[in-house]
Subunit: 355 residues, 2 copies
DNA sequence: ATTATTTGCGAAACCGGTTGCGTATAATCA
DNA sequence: TGATTATACGCAACCGGTTTCGCAAATAAT
């Protein structure tokens, strides 16, 4: 049975040393009230008996858990796993633990998760909101509990909280301009839903680039693709199958659509980049070994995670509210062959390697 | 300043309703001692005031945190992120929270992490041990604290604990036999270090297949590749550059070596699969869009995570020790073009899709 | 030598739930 | 009607730390 051997408590330590519980506490916390001699005696005994202050007891009094909740829509995703890596790198240095929650892009799950977070188990929350639209009463309630909140990447624009993101508008613009400069005459933009504000911003940047080229009604070049694995392939094949109307350049705003695009082109025998040039918002480590290597708008996922963690840890440690602070980490254009660039190896790019 | 609005406590609820703290507790826990009328009154007031039992207070008494620690060597990794997805899927149903820790394959980090886990903050630990060799005193100490431990994938053979893994020996054998059946005359095995028992088992399976073909000294066909991104590319290029000695079939036992293999072949102008056939232990979602599509030994990462979570949750909830229980989830051979198979789309394989 | 101050520690309250026990009131029984 | 048993709730201890306060002994100041 569950024996729970390590029951060394302050009380047992106190009895063993002929001291009081309070004295032990003060000694271990290096209080000035306790003599050096007693302190060393206590510290040694504590180490010997592998004493560890009980997490619940100390948390009950201090109201601090040294724990941060991280809510992501998905974890099998190069962006989010890199972001978590960045978060962990920072929090671990500061002695914080992290709880991971996956919303699976469902607003109901997100609400359910948030609700469990109001009992004091976490000192702060980092969140990348789910794709599914919905009110954000749950987020407001969380903040009403006095729990600091920081959004990363997918933010809720209308809430006053910390926000760490990339320059999506600019990146959308750069992606579209790049394809235009590569000689594309008909560039289109693939998105999932446009509920997500970051996707909307990318699209607006894309529109701006098209407007500069005096494209008539650029909104017509924006396509919403379902995220279901079967439907999306069919939708994309439909888009590419009509040779006359077919786009010769595609900006893909979500990494998930990479596989269906490549598959569709292969099935329809369309050559990338000769017949259609492609660039994708993506953090894929494998972009350089795809055929052809995939040009990407690479988001600084690790840095975004790290900055978000720094923001929330500082807010917690200094008891300061985050006053709608916004941090922008710029994305990077990595030109590879899929958009007609040279096929150089970009494996060792700064900030991408995680090994 | 941090206002902590939601200070609804049992005491405040009690005062508001003219009852005692104990009565509130019993009412909320549906005790038979309390009348229906009182119960409904209390429950309604609790909901109205958004009362949540304090995590520390309840944990202090119950000695349960409803939290599981998950320690992985890396998170930007398709296997581990899938495994975490599996873990989360199960634990979330059971009302457990999960803490994520990343050892970055460093034994020192692993020890440090484990040490912080003995204070009662978690009810159990799931771990995939780090690659770096070392004693496992820290794991024993954890178990001595009465905290259930379950290994997944990378296990410590010598410890008596729960273990969930795949059939590495069998998989290594199957991979090698597949290449041999595809006509390879000189098959070799790439590994990182052989400290990891799972890599050793894969190698032993590989050796068995070669022995069956009466290969002389098959151990000579086993190569250890450094994991550093620059060194490994050079080492692999060296291995492939000598056209006479060059292997015509390669079993890659770690996913990390996929990129350098593809890059090396491209640089040396070696055709996959005509000149060298390749199969890799991997959970890459992008295997099918690599060029050529990569044959894989696909580990049931999601199932492994799910089973590990089930094992530890059951152990916790039933107060039973895990008596060296072993669960084996078999891997799957996915033949694609890199090993000379047909280029079929294996996107929708059972158990792989995470969308 | 006497008073003032510092030093080192113990006692007890407190954090917010949980739980065993005691008891007053109501319901049941003889 | 009086004794017995349920019913419904309050009281207080407890979980394991933290912290305030008080006090005795040691040291310093006068």
């Amino acid at each position: 049975m569950n024996s729970l051997q390590n029951n060394t408590t302050m009380q047992s330590l106190a009895e063993r040393l002929g001291l009081s519980k309070g004295t032990i506490s003060k000694a271990l916390n290096d209080s000035h009230e306790i003599s050096i001699a007693t302190k060393t005696k206590v510290v040694e005994a504590a180490r010997e008996l592998r004493y560890m202050p009980n997490h619940f007891a100390s948390g009950l009094k201090s109201r601090k858990s040294k724990t941060i909740a991280v809510i992501v829509p998905e974890i099998v995703d190069s962006f989010f796993s890199l972001a978590i890596n960045g978060i962990e790198t920072f929090t671990q240095k500061e002695g914080y633990h992290i709880n991971i929650y996956i919303s699976h892009d469902l607003i109901s799950k997100e609400k359910e998760i948030i609700r469990t977070l109001c009992d004091g188990r976490v000192d702060g929350v980092l969140i990348s909101v789910c794709r599914e639209a919905g009110d954000n009463a749950h987020l407001k309630e969380l903040m009403d509990c006095g729990i600091p909140l920081v959004f990363f990447d997918r933010v809720a624009d209308e809430l006053k909280a910390g926000k760490v993101m990339t320059d999506d508008f600019e990146a959308g613009y750069v992606a579209a301009r790049h394809l235009i400069e590569q000689g594309c005459k008909k560039v289109c933009f693939l998105s999932s839903s446009l509920c997500l504000s970051i996707l909307k911003k990318r699209m607006e940047g894309f529109i701006k680039a098209l407007n500069e080229k005096n494209v008539i009604d650029p909104q017509k070049n924006v396509h919403q693709i379902p995220l279901d694995d079967i439907e999306n392939l069919e939708t994309i094949k439909l888009l590419l199958s009509n040779a006359d109307e077919r786009p010769d350049g595609i900006v893909i705003s979500v990494e998930l659509l990479t596989i269906p695009i490549y598959l569709a082109c292969k099935e329809l025998n369309i050559n990338i980049p000769d017949e259609v040039k492609i660039i994708c918002f993506s953090n894929l480590l494998y972009a350089s070994v795809l055929s052809p290597p995939l040009s990407t708008i690479t988001q600084p996922a690790f840095e975004i995670g790290q900055s978000a963690a720094r923001l929330i840890c500082n807010s917690i440690d200094r008891f300061t509210e985050i006053d709608d602070e916004k941090i922008i980490c710029p994305s990077r254009l990595d030109i590879r062959k899929s958009s007609g660039g040279n096929d150089v190896h970009l494996l060792k790019e700064e900030g991408l390697s995680v090994f």
